[in-house]
Symmetry: C2
Subunit: 319 residues, 2 copies
């Protein structure tokens, strides 16, 4: 079975770990969000790709959900001593190595997709991880800080300000001229199932879909497209997705996110069992919906979610 | 008193620490060798400048003589895990931070001299440290490895091969078209004393003098030029200077090194007291010479050497 997953960072990575357990033997292609990418200290940092790679490759800091296990922070301290910022973005020493290797390969002329493949040769994530695009796309957020409107890098909004400043708009800078990385459209076209994990629907999955050609390919794909709600009981499972949903005028509810993706895109939508009341609303919008447990408390729980998604795909395919 | 020192790495740095103690209140300008510089992992590494900066700034690994005290090696291990070499050049995590800051500033358009000044703003070495040139100069060594002639980067010859392969020639690539960094020629012209510490006369001091204009400026300077022999009893004080001396056809002796610098350049030459027998030979070549203790066993010993050099300068000035 060929499965394509459009994934952001932590939520996507944890779902993928469950999916791998659920479909041993399946062929999983992950189209990773690169809108979170940031250039720091002259290095190219790809937080979402790395979170997927580290999580599936066994190198992730489990509790934190991002960064490396057993990490040290010598470089961060040194940077501070040199007065070189930003201080708010925490890169560990081991993590730096990844960015150094990546930056060196990019500088040598390799596209990000080839670099990601090279990094994965070490991590053996057990999936094919492809960045959504080899082109530079950077999500910026139009904020109002101290009464002044200012567009800041998504990471500045998210990590520095913890999404506590008003977000007026989400702008995936460069997305409109980006092209999908090699293999992305082919994987989508040839997929047996396409999954939207409980990643951020705006700045993760939304950014991937903003690359011209990707949304169209997903809509046109033969495969059923099944999404899992990142909203449970009116609140994000983790992170601050409610803030960026508000910025694009979408209510923080499982049903509203389904509506945001739309019936053209989704062939099925899974909401948490506590949101069973939303099933009728989602189905009324033309999207088949089921209520199942959606808390990724551990790998087994994530695997159960993945099995529900795959079973749902079979069901909608049979209709 | 304005003192200019043409310095390599460990030997130069240790001498400078003594000199600082000897001339409290003096104004010391260090023209640092950049021929050892190497690009590793996409980063610009300046071993000699850093050794001077760390040593005088209190950050050096005392026993080792290079690199940072209390260093960790997470990145090095990660690089190995990624299969990215070279493995033979040991960069610690703290040290990496210096190279990251330097590379970022160079990438932003600052010349190496400005970058060095910025790094020194943190380290406060108590001297003005200027690279010999802002231009890229890289010492290469023509070797014979497994029967094949091959030019390798000096660091590869020195660190990887430990100078155990034959060195047929020393080539300061780029030196002939390099220009002295801003301030170098002015400092030399305005100096009261110019010192050549017991650094490697070929690949450290020799490379500095190979930058067009620097040797001429030292020869033309009003100030006495006093050198301290890096050879004691027919062997290098440290390192493998004998190997590179042989490559340029110079015998490994205190007298031969004096002759290599030449009476045009040197106004005085200090040999170790154990080499007192060489004094007559050096003076016969037209270079005033004294025998004094030249083992830099600790800072006090280095300071005593510096005082001897300064006293010698006064003596030759009075002639």
């Amino acid at each position: 079975m060929r499965i394509v997953v459009l994934a952001g960072g932590i939520g996507g990575a944890r779902f993928l770990r469950g999916l791998k357990q659920a479909v041993e033997g399946g062929e999983i292609t992950v189209v990773g969000n690169t809108g979170d990418d940031i250039h720091l200290f002259g290095l190219k940092v790809c937080p979402d790709l790395d979170t997927v790679m580290y999580t599936l490759g066994g190198g992730i800091h489990e509790e934190q959900g991002w960064g490396r296990a057993g990490e040290s922070f010598s470089i961060k301290e040194e940077m501070k001593a040199y007065g070189v910022g930003p201080e708010w973005f925490g890169l560990g020493d081991k993590d730096f190595a990844t960015h150094i290797v990546r930056t060196q390969m990019l500088g040598a002329g390799y596209p990000l997709s080839a670099v990601t493949e090279a990094l994965c040769a070490r991590w053996q994530p057990g999936v094919r991880l492809i960045p959504m695009s080899d082109d530079r796309v950077e999500t910026h957020v139009l904020t109002e800080i101290d009464g002044e409107r200012k567009a800041v890098h998504f990471q500045e909004y998210w990590v520095k300000h913890h999404a506590t400043v008003p977000a007026l708009a989400i702008i995936p800078v460069g997305a409109e001229t980006a092209t999908p990385a090699p293999g992305v459209l082919e994987a989508i076209a040839e997929a047996d199932v396409i999954l939207l994990p409980p990643s951020n629907p705006v700045v993760s999955v939304g950014t991937i879909l903003a690359v011209p050609g990707i949304r169209q390919a997903v809509v046109a794909a033969q495969a059923p497209v099944i999404g899992l709600s990142p909203i449970i009981g009116g609140a994000p499972v983790r992170g601050m997705a409610d803030k960026v949903l508000a910025a694009v005028g979408v209510e923080t509810s499982a049903a509203a996110v389904a509506g945001h993706y739309g019936s053209e895109l989704l062939d099925g939508w899974l909401v948490d069992e506590s949101d069973a009341g939303a099933v009728a609303e989602v189905e009324a919008a033309g999207i088949p919906c089921r209520a199942v447990p959606l808390w990724m408390t551990d790998v087994d729980a994530s695997a159960a979610m993945a099995r529900e998604a795959l079973a749902f795909a079979e069901a909608v395919r049979a209709r």
